[in-house]
């Protein structure tokens, strides 16, 4: 079954891209979940959609080839900086930044789509993901983003972890909390832009949070949770891509459903272990 993925170029790039986002999405997802920022991923994915719609509009109006992934990425990073700005303005109601940015992203998308007089199936692919959408160019860009993200997380792991656990303590001890947080949110924006080709705008936050939610039930400690999240993310991506391809379903849907099954199993295991312990005691 997997053979097709190595036989055809476009499938091979999709598969390799899937393996990459299976690592980086849950990797950043662990920090996002423990900092209770899950919804920020959703807001940023919608801003990315705005950027993609902008790219498609330029392509259609000016009749040039313009990779929409780039404009998506630029919008996403810009949106992440804007979210931080809004969060500092509305200190007591930080979550209000999320609907503002999310609706802004969708609003822009609608306007760009209307100006371009509607798009073809391409936009559908961006919404729900696609097994055939990753070009060689896309792949190399996503590969560079992945290497960059992994390197930065490795380099700033202790600061990111310290900040996630206790922001006040981190600040008192002299860590530049604001700068580290900004760096983190920009990384998140990059990962979202990179993941959208495969899982789609509407489901990208799921790939960042569901594997983490499952790992959280089983792991001891933060590093173990991170490792398990990546493992679950990879399983979801691989199984989701293959079933999506053979059943002719956008992979966003299948990947998320596999992730949900993993989540249910992990909850089941935890409950089972708990009952067993109670019985033994």
């Amino acid at each position: 079954m997997v053979a097709d993925f190595f036989q055809f170029d476009f499938l091979r790039y999709t598969f390799l891209t899937g393996l990459l986002i299976g690592i980086i999405a849950p990797l950043l997802g662990t920090f996002i979940v423990v900092r209770r920022l899950s919804l920020i991923a959703d807001a940023l994915s919608h801003v990315t959609l705005g950027g993609i719609a902008f790219g498609l509009m330029i392509e259609k109006l000016l009749l040039i080839t313009f990779p929409p992934l780039y404009s998506g990425m630029i919008f996403s990073v810009f949106g992440s900086v804007l979210i931080e700005k809004l969060r500092s303005i509305y200190k007591a109601y930080q979550e209000i930044a999320i609907p503002i940015i999310l609706s802004g992203g969708v609003g822009l998308s609608v306007i760009f789509i209307a100006i371009a007089d509607g798009f073809n199936t391409d936009l559908f692919n961006y919404l729900f993901g696609s097994v055939s959408a990753v070009s060689q160019n896309d792949f190399f860009m996503i590969l560079s983003i992945s290497i960059f993200v992994i390197l930065v997380v490795a380099l700033f792991y202790k600061e990111l972890f310290t900040l996630s656990f206790d922001e006040e303590h981190a600040t008192i001890s002299g860590i530049h909390s604001k700068r580290i947080h900004l760096l983190f949110i920009i990384l998140t924006a990059l990962v979202i832009a990179a993941s959208i080709r495969i899982v789609g705008v509407l489901l990208v936050s799921a790939l960042m949070t569901l594997p983490v939610a499952a790992a959280m039930r089983l792991a001891k400690g933060f590093k173990q949770m991170m490792g398990l999240s990546i493992l679950f993310g990879e399983i979801a991506v691989i199984a989701g891509l293959i079933t999506g391809y053979y059943l002719n379903i956008p992979p966003g849907g299948t990947i998320v459903m596999v992730a949900i099954i993993i989540l249910l199993i992990s909850i089941g295991i935890k409950q089972f272990n708990f009952r067993k312990k109670v019985r033994e005691a």
């Binding site: 423990v34 202790k158 972890f161 656990f165 006040e168 303590h169 001890s173 001891k220």
Partner: protein, 251 residues
Amino acid sequence: MKESIVSMKNISYAYERKVVLDHINFEIPRGSFMGLVGPNGGGKTTLIKLLLGLIKPDGGSIEVFNKPIETFKEREKIGFVSQKANSFNRGFPATVFEVISTGLTAKIGYFKFFNKKHKEKILEAIDQVGMLDYAYENIGNLSGGQQQRVFIARALVNDPELLILDEPTVGVDYENVKRFYELLHQLHDNRDITLLLVTHDTGAITEHATDIVCLNKTLHFHGKPEDYSSLSEKDLSQFYGHPVNIVTHNH
């Protein structure tokens, strides 16, 4: 007279227009175990924030380890266990070891990684608070008293010379409060750590501290615990109700 490791001169601070601290003069002599008491809203937490450099005074000057606080860089010399240590996100998936490692993050610095020596240091701090058996347990699985020990260990991992604890015994049961004071004495006597303990529990603190400071906008009392205990109720209510002049102190 012992050297002061903290010295506040004429410190005033106001939130909006509400004056919280009014011309405070305050010193922490090296080697003391100081209890800071006073009513709610009396400015205890504000004083700590000033000491940690989180806020700047409206007037007056603060010296920490003989340096003006504005230029004081060796933050690891001051350990801090906050009130929030009791109300952190209990579901956070981190082991005791990982939590304590966060105490070292700033000291190690950017672009550097934990090495073997740091790991030994972390285990040593865990051992000091008697939590070695739980080093690789998730912090959320521990009892309140145990969690508090972990937060003290996080402060100890930097070998602080001054340890500040803000209301650490709130919500901790009697048995654990007892163990907590035992631990503090151990740190004070064996490791020469100067302690500043903010508390509501005036009964317990007068038994353990070497110095008591009572703060309510101004400094109402600064002296030995036995003198504080011998104050009559009338004196105390007067202290709380009518500001008196700043108490000068000699050691």
